[in-house]
Amino acid sequence: MIFRHYQKKHLWPLAFLLPTIIGLLVFRLIPIFWSFALSFMDWQIFDTATFAGLDNYIYIFQSVTTLQILRVTFLFMLMYVPGAVLLALALAVILNSGLRGAAFFRGAFFLPYITSTVAVVLVWRWIFSTRFGLLNNALDYIGIEQNPAWLADPAYALPAVAIVSIWKDAGFYMLLLLAGLQTINNEYYEAARVDGATRWRRFIDITVPLLSRSLFFVLIIAMIRSTQTFEITYSLTEGGPNGATTTLAFAIYQRAFVDFDMGLAAALSYVLCVILGFLTLVQFWLRRRWVHE
């Protein structure tokens, strides 16, 4: 800590944090507590709200769909988070190594993140098409005949959504990691090179520990994003087939804006928050073991 020698030392950080504290109270916590209160209400949005106690939560725990929604949410997280973060790390490290043409690749890899989702999904639908799709034709070409109906078969739809999501977001995480890589002093690498360390050793011994704070940040952000994926699912599979890609975020949208059941949607949201909170705590606990402070 830098400023322990200053007098009135708490005033400075308070001044730095003042906008955040005001914004947090007014624009974040008010709506959040409001919606939390709604989770104890029976409120179809076009109707008057009545107090319902724990009814919404009880409904969620008894519903025939809840288990599947949770399963899909976790499975998606397990596919998306490692996939997106590892791909982004590889891209960032490669592009940071002073390769020729790196500027072009950086632009190319980031483009999916910019391109509008509806446009992107149009082409991915064609790629995944059962009979005429690029993917299945490519599989045919290399001799794999049993081609799945990617978007219509519950066993393949979630991986398909994960592939598109990873493809779309990897450039975003790459950008964050590239910024993080700038904090690593080149002198470390030069010293290691003098010592004769291989590329791989330099990556493991220097890059990973010194990038670990950024990596940790990207990991948490990816985890949060994985539970909020909505647009791609909506336009690619609409949560189907038969619920196979209906994650919690998607179910919350359905409860809120198709069923207009704001109480139920809010309750589902706080189920999601509890899960995320728990996973984040675990991550912060694990952080001590691998993040280089």
Binding site: I45, A152, T237, E238, G240, G243, F250, V258, M262
Partner: protein, 415 residues
């Protein structure tokens, strides 16, 4: 009585004119339809000096979140579009003004009777039809000719349909194409006297005729092989399968007439027919399936009479047939029955068939939370849709699917 009420509304109208600045807000879920409405909206403003109409249109997936927010704040627009599927939920909660007192003096006989029924909730008219649609059987005349078959007509039985589908199936073409959504399946169910709901609409309980219908449709795929599994066609928009010539017959909403015209090769000859009546049905139990895009006045509107006048402008005789392209039927009879709307000289040759369907006894099958149990909008892959897909794709038995759907639907209806 009638006279005095009308004069009151005229008084109210002139009062609002006297206050000069009055605004009528109007929200629509169809941006391109709003374009077509702009001329009559301008006429409405010209006819009512001091009245401004504020319009906003966005597609359905964005319309409902926006309308939800406005409903939560008690700021619903004076006039807004209402889906047949949502009338029950929104009407029962008291958001939609009772239109009957406003409609005194309006000749309701000028509108299709069947199109008025979806707007009735517990005997109160809370939504008024602008246009309506009905599923029809599309068929490829060239393929029927090549197979030497008669075109489908009103007397066709399901056995004859099945035989035709078999005869039409070749190596390249399927006899039939079915996708398990409400527009593709429920007509068959209702035309067979089938019901998903109990009579009081409080629960899901498929009657035998409904089960038989679903069995018939899934047999077309699994037993007769005259229709593809839907997953085989994934990647082609379902509404393009028929116009692209990949199937000889197809059932979908009349609004797809437009799409068939756009996508099909201009040389393709095709027509529409009514979905055949089922073997379990009698003339009394067989129902036609049709529903309407409706307009409602909000209960909180301060200008209900003016709002009603505005609705009449949007749905009444001042509109032109060209504003209702393809298979959207104007609720105002005179426009629908005009030669301009019937579009003599373009395909299909018999658009009056849709009017005939609308004149029959209509069962719409909507209930509270219909979109959730049936599967609609952002829940288009859920509920019955999701289960039927599994059956049609050969991954689940019909019995298992019905059991799962019934459990889910009853849970939803019990909310």
């Amino acid at each position: 009585m009638k006279v005095s009420l009308t004069s009151i509304s005229i008084l109210a109208l002139s009062a609002s004119i006297a206050t000069a600045e009055t605004t009528i807000s109007y929200m629509s879920w169809s941006p391109d339809q709003l374009e077509l409405e702009m001329p009559v909206i301008a006429e409405f403003e010209a006819a009512n000096p001091g009245v401004t109409v504020e319009v906003q249109a966005m597609p359905p997936s964005d319309y409902w979140p926006k309308l939800s927010a406005l409903a939560a704040a008690g700021d619903l627009p004076d006039v807004f579009m209402m889906s047949s599927g949502f009338v029950d939920s929104w009407g029962l909660a008291g958001n939609l003004a009772d239109l009957a007192p406003l409609a005194e003096g309006t000749d309701l006989g000028a509108y299709f009777e069947g199109s008025l029924t979806p707007g009735m909730v517990n005997g109160t008219m809370v939504a008024f039809p602008q246009n309506w649609v009905a599923p029809v059987l599309y068929y490829n005349k060239d393929m029927f000719d090549a197979a030497g078959l008669d075109y489908p007509d009103a007397d066709m039985t399901w056995d004859e349909f099945r035989a035709a589908a078999k005869a039409l199936t070749t190596e390249d073409v399927f006899g039939y194409w079915v996708y398990g959504r409400y527009a593709h399946v429920d007509t068959w169910v209702y035309r067979n006297g089938g019901r998903y709901l109990t009579d009081d609409k409080s629960g899901i309980e498929l009657n035998a005729a409904a089960v038989n219908t679903l069995q018939f449709l899934s047999d077309l795929i699994a037993v007769d092989n005259v229709a593809p599994q839907p997953q085989e066609m994934e990647g082609i928009r379902q509404q393009d399968v028929f116009p692209l010539g990949m199937a000889a017959m197809w059932v979908d909403g009349s609004w797809n007439i437009d799409n068939v015209r756009n996508v099909a090769d201009p040389s393709m000859n095709w027509g529409i027919a009514q979905v055949p009546m089922g073997p379990d049905a009698t003339a009394d139990t067989a129902a036609a399936y049709a529903w309407a895009d409706m307009l409602s006045v909000s209960e909180t509107s301060e200008n209900k009479d003016l709002a009603w006048d505005f609705i009449q402008t949007l749905v009444g005789g001042e509109r032109s047939a060209a504003d209702f392209p393809g298979g959207k039927v104007p609720a105002y009879r005179a426009i629908a029955e005009s030669d301009e709307w019937l579009e003599r000289g373009s395909q299909p040759a018999n658009k009056e068939l849709i009017l005939e369907i609308g004149a029959q006894t209509v069962y719409s099958g909507f209930s509270e939370n219909w979109s959730t149990w049936r599967g609609y909008g952002a829940e288009g892959q859920a509920g019955l849709n999701g289960e039927l897909d599994e059956v049609f794709n050969g991954r689940k038995s019909l019995d298992d699917a019905i059991a799962a759907f019934t459990a889910y639907g009853n849970e939803v209806l019990a909310r």
